[in-house]
Structure formats: structure tokens, C-alpha cells
Amino acid sequence: MAKTTKKIKTIKVDADKCNGCRTCEIVCSGFHSEPKYSAINPAAARIHVTTHRLKNIWLPVFAGEYTPAECNGRDKYIIDGKEYDECSFCRAACPSRDLFKEPDSGLPLKCDMCEGNESGPLCVEWCLNDVLIYEEREEEVDEEIMVNEMEVGLDALITKYGLDRIETAVSRMTKRN
């Protein structure tokens, strides 16, 4: 299969350096308000610092994909003697919690690496303690075969009924017309 290069963007989180100030949440919500920086609301940020101060837990997590269903079976981690709550490391906007959802509408929020901002993600830029580190790299991946809308639909039908039955139906329809 043909190969192509893809740009991978990541924010590396050095949680041990986090002093829990939540500047990342503030600047994120500001950048994504319309017009830019017209409103500040950490609850609408696409990054969140999970905090349990007396347990020495300060963990910045940025928003990933929306998921329509919560998972069956949650994870709990104990690292360095600190027990992290279930969902602590999860980046999903999910029905089980109100994190990464626009507070008024409930619509899911997802980190877009501050698309359109020349200097990259703003949480990284405004974190003066170097907790958040932006990294970009190129990876060689299999070239994707672009599928059109109709094929997506057909794929779904094939998954549901099997290729044989679809073929039979198509040939029957061809004859009928």
C-alpha cells in the first residue's frame, strides 16, 4: 500500500511541574470565545486541571473525542502511592460527566490545538512553568483510500446485511429497471 506522511500534534503534560494555577483553562476559554477573548469561563475550556490538593494530584487533561456512551468498566490508577479517580486520565466528552461540555448547551468540546493561532496552542504558551509542551512530528502512514459518501452508506449496508445479499438486491434492481 502506498505511504504518505501525516503531521501528528501532541501536548506533552509534565504533571509533576504543575502548580495547579489553571491559567491553561482561562486562556483556552478566552481564545475559543467569539470574538476572541471576549469571555472567560474555565468550565468551557478544552483543558482541565484535575485537582485533589491534599492527595498531591494536579493533572492537566485536554479534551479528546466525544463519545455517545460511557464505558463499561472504569479504570483506576495508583501511581506513586496516589490513587487517581476513575476517568481522571480520560479525555472524552462522555455522558458520565459534565467535563468538556459547553456549560449552557451541553455540546461536547474538543481540543483543536488552537487552530488558526500561529504560535500554536495557547495553554502551552501561557503556562510559565513548562508543564505543557507542544510537540509536532511527521509520521509515515498508509495512504488512506478516500471513500465518498455513497460508499460510506454502502459500507454500512454491507456490514448490516452482508455483501452477498446486497449484490443480489443490486442485480435484482438492475433487472427491474
Partner: protein
């Protein structure tokens, strides 16, 4: 649409259990900004001078600052205002942490509480939903513990809680209000909260805060950020480590404590130990501190790391900030830093001010030695220094035995004990314990700051001007070269000419006129910080801070949309400053009260001190008695205050001239 501020206050009548969400008058922003400024106005309007601290009419206000919740680094202060049980005056302790911004995001600028709840309650604010909830299960719980219990009860770790401990419940005059890694300590706010039967105030907010010109605001912040980075990587040369950086003194970070331990007085603010900081002490303290602090932490939206998460030996985890690791230790004359970290946890859970309280305990220890307090008063008290302090702390927090008297603070306790105890109360001004500093030569700048500020606590008055003259001319020249924070370049010359000894030295230089300018400037910067809710550590309290008179107006203007320049900003804070003074004058404060402790300096100059005070009063537009003149008040649109002062006989006809 309101910008910068939420535009609503919560009015809570605890007696009736009534809660109202009240839109505020947008004119108040133009007149008083927010934070301390608007709170002082509410106290002036609503609380008559006859009201005492524990009267139901005494209102308790929790306020955020005007710029809390905006992207302005370090704007995170909660200002608590009330009539203090200790001083009888309008007190305004403040705290950092996370509460102020959360209140703003919940849609409020202030929580104003009046009356008294019939039983112990806590208040839960969640956006538009505000509840008074039963707190009987939290009675007697620690101030830190309570915060965690409420978060668990309400099942949301993002709730921010300000709580009192048992000292507040028992109305100790030095009871604090604790919140995350911060506390509002001075003046007994915890006692007023306890008197009103409020155990805690919990807040969660998920609403937007609007900025008038957000992009412009961020541009100014970009410049500020560059300067923060510069200052964090370039400590000031020529001053002690502790004074060389920005932020609230990074007591958790610095292990070099030579300055505090050798310059400040130990015990009941008695003696300096100039040879304390030996190699052995340095080694031992460094070891203890590095192992006790698990992580450096900050307040909301602040890049500095002034606080520490403490996990010391078998002491349950807690957070510490500022000078508190040393106050109990120095008060008790204990040389092992471990003691500081051990007693700190207990004191914070009790919810006691760690500046005043150790001095009260040390005062009691002295009275015992002198035989003024008897062995009967100390029945059951251990003999070792550490044990004695722990025992006394327990007694004070629970108001048991001698602790019940000591819980009223040094001034009142000395008068209740009598029998010569009064002369051991040697370190209070206006009935409030001062920093434990005892020096040689009168310092005219500090004289004025100690004497006149309504804060009555030096750390919230001093700051932008170096504490002492630099010895070499080269160092002075280097220091003034890069000093954009000054309000006027002529002050550079004052500093260049200022010598540690000789003619151009304390007490006669800077001259009274120069001192007036310098002190007035430093006070004004504090007043701005207290109105916008900025940590003094990034503005008024440190040398060469990132925020100063030349960039405050830009930030306030971009956030709120109001037109503002340096002059108009100065006028606004002068207005609230004079209003605050009027409140205290009507409560009986007078010129005779305006003096630092007798023992503060060895070399005093009574006549010269009077001249200094009079010069400063004149500079401020106050008469001989320290009362703002009608002319001054009218300049500040405060004619109604002049009327009130005249009606009450505080401002007398014919005393309006400046010739006194």
C-alpha cells in the same frame, strides 16, 4: 452587559434565612472600582459607628476583586470586610487561593451577610442556585478538613470552600478564614463568621465573565508576562534573597532564612538573634524543609509558587504559605524547623492567624515567667517550649481556662489580666499585634506606614520602595537605572542620595515631604491591588513588580471598557481610601492612636515624629487630627462624607485649614 465585574451581589439575611440576588449600580465601578473599594462604600452606607463586631447589624462581606477571573496573572484575591472584634475598626484581610474567581464565574462580585443564623450553617452557591445548608455535622471540624468534607458531601471536587475552624466557632479574636492554600487572617474575620454561625461558604461557578476589549487586554498581558519571565530569571542584586524576587515572598522555596531569623525578634517580639544562622542550622533547616515540601503550589492563575504542599513526618497533609513556618517557631524560641511544620497544621485546622497568635502565646509565656500568670493558670501544661506552645494553642482555640482570656488577643488579654500585664503588651498598634521587628534607628518611612494605614499590618502597606538604603553609590545607580515602576522619576534622586549613615540617612532623610510622597505612593498601589484583587506579591508588596501605576489603567480599561488613566485611577482609590478613613474615624480612631509600638525602635524622636505625621496628614489633605478636610472630600466627590463627619463632630468647623 457588564464587563470585568459580574454585576450582581448576593445579599443574605442570616436571621431570616433570606437570599437575594441584587444587580449592582454600574456607577459604583466608576466611583470605587470593586473589591475593597466598593466594599468600603457598602460598610459606610449600612453600618453605623455604634455597631459592634458581634452585633447582628455588623455585615460580613466576601468580595472578589474587579479583575479576578480575568486572564490577569495573580488577580485572585478574596477581600473579607467587617468590623473587627479586636480593633473595633473596619478590617479587610484578604486571601489568595481559588475562591474569588469561582464566585465571579458563579455570577457574583460579593456575598454580603447580615444578621445571625440561629444554628450552624454553611452557604452553597452554585450559579443561580444558592442554599443555606445545615452544618451541625461540621461543628468542631478543622478549617481544612471542613473544605474536603463539603466537597465530598456535594460530590464535586471543583467546589471552592472558605471555612472556619474551631477558633472561629469560639469567636477567638484572631480567628482566620481558611481556603485552599490561603487564609484571610488579620482582624478576626473568622470570629465574625463564627458569631454569625457560618461554618463555610462553598462556591461553584460555570458562567462566562466578559471582557470589554479582550484582545487588547491580552496584548498588555503579553508584555507583563515577558517581565515576569525576566524577573523570575534575574533576581535583584544587592538585596536579601527573600526580597530579590517577585510573588509573595517565596518562603516555601527559599531555604535561606538568615534574614528572617536574624533580623526579626524572637519570643514576644523581644530579642534579635544575630548569630542564629550558623552552618549547622542552615544544613538542618535545609534538610527539614526540602523533605517537608512535596510540591510548590500557586493560587488561581498565578505562575509563581509561593505555597507548598506539606507532608511532614506523620502530620496529615496541608498547605502552607508565607512566613507561617517561622512565626510559631520564633515565638516559642524553638531552633528546630520541624516544629514550625508540625504546629502549622494544627493552627490552620483551628483557623488562627499565624502572625498574631504566636505573639499572644509568647506573651502568655512571659507572663508566666514574671509570675503575673500563676502555675494554676498553667495547670497541666508541659514544661518544654514546644509542649507549652502546643498546650497554649489548644487552650486558646477552645477558649478554655487562661485560653479564654488570651483568645481576645494581646491588648485585651493584658487588660483583663491586669497586675502589670499591660506593659508586656508592647508590640500592638490600634490593639493589633504588629510584626515582630525591633530595630535601632527610627525609620521615617516605616514610622508613617505603621502609624497611618487602615490595614494596621505592615506587610500590606510597604513594598515598592527598598527597605533600607544601599551602601554603595554604584549599587544605587544600578538599581535606579531600570525602575519603570516609579510614579515619578524624581524619586530616583531620593534613592540615589539616600545613605545608610550620615546626614542623608534615617531618621532625617528622606525628608518628611519626600517620605509623604513615597508612602502615599506605596499605599495607593496597595489600594489599587485591593480593589482589583491582585496579589500584593505581584504589585504593591515587592520591589520592581510586574504591575505598576503605568500598566494598571490599561488593564482595567481593557477589561471593563471604562476610560481610565493614571490620574483618574489614583483619584478613585484615593476616594475609597478617604472613605475608609472616615469609617474608622467615626469609630473613634484618632491621631493619638497613630503610632508604631513604643519598642519598635530604640532611638526615637518624639517631636520629629509629630512633625512627620503632620506633614503626611497635610500631604493627604487631612487636618491636624488626621481627618480629611471638607475641601479634600469634596474634591473626591465625597461631600456626603464631610456632612456625616461634621454631623458626628469628627470634622469640626474651622479646622478645615491646613495650617494646623
Amino acid at each position: 452587559m457588564r464587563y470585568g465585574e459580574a454585576g450582581y451581589n448576593l445579599e443574605i439575611d442570616l436571621t431570616r434565612g433570606n437570599i437575594e440576588r441584587v444587580e449592582t449600580d454600574p456607577k459604583m465601578l466608576e466611583q470605587f472600582l470593586g473589591g475593597l473599594g466598593t466594599s468600603v462604600k457598602i460598610h459606610f452606607d449600612r453600618v453605623p459607628p455604634e455597631t459592634k463586631a458581634f452585633d447582628p447589624e455588623n455585615i460580613l462581606i466576601f468580595s472578589n476583586g474587579l479583575l479576578c477571573g480575568t486572564p490577569m496573572f495573580s488577580a485572585n484575591r478574596t477581600l473579607v470586610t467587617f468590623i473587627s472584634p479586636q480593633t473595633g475598626l473596619l478590617a479587610y484581610p484578604m486571601m489568595g487561593g481559588f475562591w474569588a474567581a469561582e464566585l465571579k464565574y458563579a455570577g457574583y462580585d460579593k456575598v454580603i451577610m447580615r444578621g445571625k443564623s440561629p444554628k450552624l450553617i454553611y452557604i452553597y452557591i452554585h450559579n443561580d442556585k444558592v442554599e443555606i445548608r445545615d452544618a451541625s455535622h461540621l461543628k468542631g471540624k478543622g478549617a481544612i478538613e471542613t473544605q474536603e468534607l463539603i466537597r465530598e458531601e456535594l460530590k464535586d471536587p471543583r467546589i471552592q470552600v472558605a471555612a472556619i475552624g474551631i477558633a472561629g466557632e469560639n469567636k477567638c479574636f484572631t480567628a482566620s478564614i481558611e481556603q485552599s492554600r490561603s487564609s484571610a487572617s488579620r482582624g478576626g474575620g473568622g470570629a465574625v463568621m463564627g458569631d454569625k454561625n457560618i461554618k463555610a461558604i462553598a462556591v461553584r461557578g460555570t458562567k462566562p465573565l466578559y471582557l470589554a476589549r479582550g484582545e487588547e487586554f491580552m496584548k498588555v498581558m503579553k508584555e507583563v508576562t515577558e517581565y515576569i519571565n525576566f524577573r523570575n530569571t534575574n533576581p535583584l542584586p544587592g538585596v536579601m534573597t527573600i526580597l530579590s524576587g517577585i510573588g509573595s515572598p517565596a518562603e516555601m522555596k527559599h531555604v535561606d532564612e538568615q534574614w528572617h531569623t536574624t533580623s526579626f525578634a524572637w519570643g514576644n517580639a523581644r530579642a534579635r538573634r544575630k548569630d542564629f544562622w550558623t552552618k549547622e542550622i542552615e544544613e538542618s533547616w535545609k534538610g527539614v524543609q526540602l523533605s517537608a515540601i512535596k510540591r510548590f503550589i500557586s493560587c488561581f492563575n498565578c505562575p509563581q509558587q509561593c505555597g507548598g504542599l506539606i507532608m511532614h513526618k506523620d502530620v496529615p497533609p496541608y498547605m502552607m504559605k508565607c512566613f507561617s513556618k517561622l512565626t510559631y517557631l520564633m515565638g516559642a524560641y524553638v531552633d528546630d524547623l520541624s516544629f514550625g511544620f508540625e504546629i502549622g497544621k494544627k493552627a490552620f485546622e483551628y483557623g488562627l492567624d499565624s502572625f498574631s497568635t504566636p505573639q499572644i502565646l509568647a506573651f502568655a509565656v512571659e507572663l508566666r515567667k514574671e509570675g503575673i500568670l500563676s502555675d494554676k493558670d498553667f495547670e497541666g501544661c508541659p514544661e518544654d517550649k514546644e509542649g507549652q506552645f502546643n498546650w497554649l494553642l489548644d487552650k486558646v482555640a477552645h477558649r478554655e481556662g487562661i485560653g479564654d482570656i488570651l483568645a481576645d488577643g494581646t491588648y485585651w488579654a493584658a487588660r483583663r489580666i491586669g497586675n502589670g500585664a499591660e506593659k508586656f503588651d508592647h508590640n500592638t498598634t490600634k490593639k493589633h499585634e504588629q510584626m515582630n521587628i525591633k530595630l535601632g534607628m527610627l525609620d521615617p518611612l516605616y514610622y508613617l506606614m505603621y502609624a497611618t494605614n487602615e490595614k494596621i499590618s505592615i506587610t500590606q502597606i510597604e513594598g515598592n520602595w527598598p527597605q533600607a538604603a544601599f551602601a554603595s553609590k554604584e549599587d544605587r545607580e544600578a538599581f535606579v537605572k531600570d525602575w519603570p515602576q516609579l510614579p515619578d522619576d524624581k524619586m530616583k534622586q531620593y534613592f540615589l542620595d539616600w545613605e545608610p549613615r550620615g546626614e542623608k540617612a534615617n531618621p532625617y532623610y528622606p525628608t518628611p515631604d519626600m517620605c509623604s510622597e513615597i508612602v502615599d505612593w506605596m499605599e495607593m498601589i496597595h489600594n489599587i491591588d485591593d480593589a482589583i484583587g491582585l496579589c500584593a506579591g505581584m504589585g504593591s508588596f515587592c520591589l520592581k513588580p510586574p504591575y505598576h501605576i503605568h500598566n494598571y489603567p490599561k488593564l482595567i480599561s481593557a477589561a471593563t471598557g471604562m476610560d481610565l488613566d493614571e490620574k483618574s485611577l489614583q483619584r478613585i482609590v484615593n476616594r475609597s481610601r478617604n472613605l475608609h478613613r472616615a469609617v474608622n474615624l467615626m469609630r473613634g480612631m484618632c491621631r493619638a492612636d497613630e503610632k508604631p509600638p513604643e519598642s519598635h525602635w530604640k532611638h526615637r524622636f518624639p517631636e520629629y515624629e509629630e512633625q512627620l505625621l503632620t506633614t503626611y496628614y497635610n500631604y493627604k489633605g487631612w487636618n491636624y487630627d488626621g481627618v480629611p478636610t471638607r475641601e479634600r472630600l469634596e474634591e473626591l466627590d465625597l461631600a456626603y462624607v464631610a456632612d456625616e463627619l461634621e454631623k458626628r463632630g469628627v470634622l469640626k468647623n474651622g479646622q478645615d485649614n491646613k495650617e494646623n
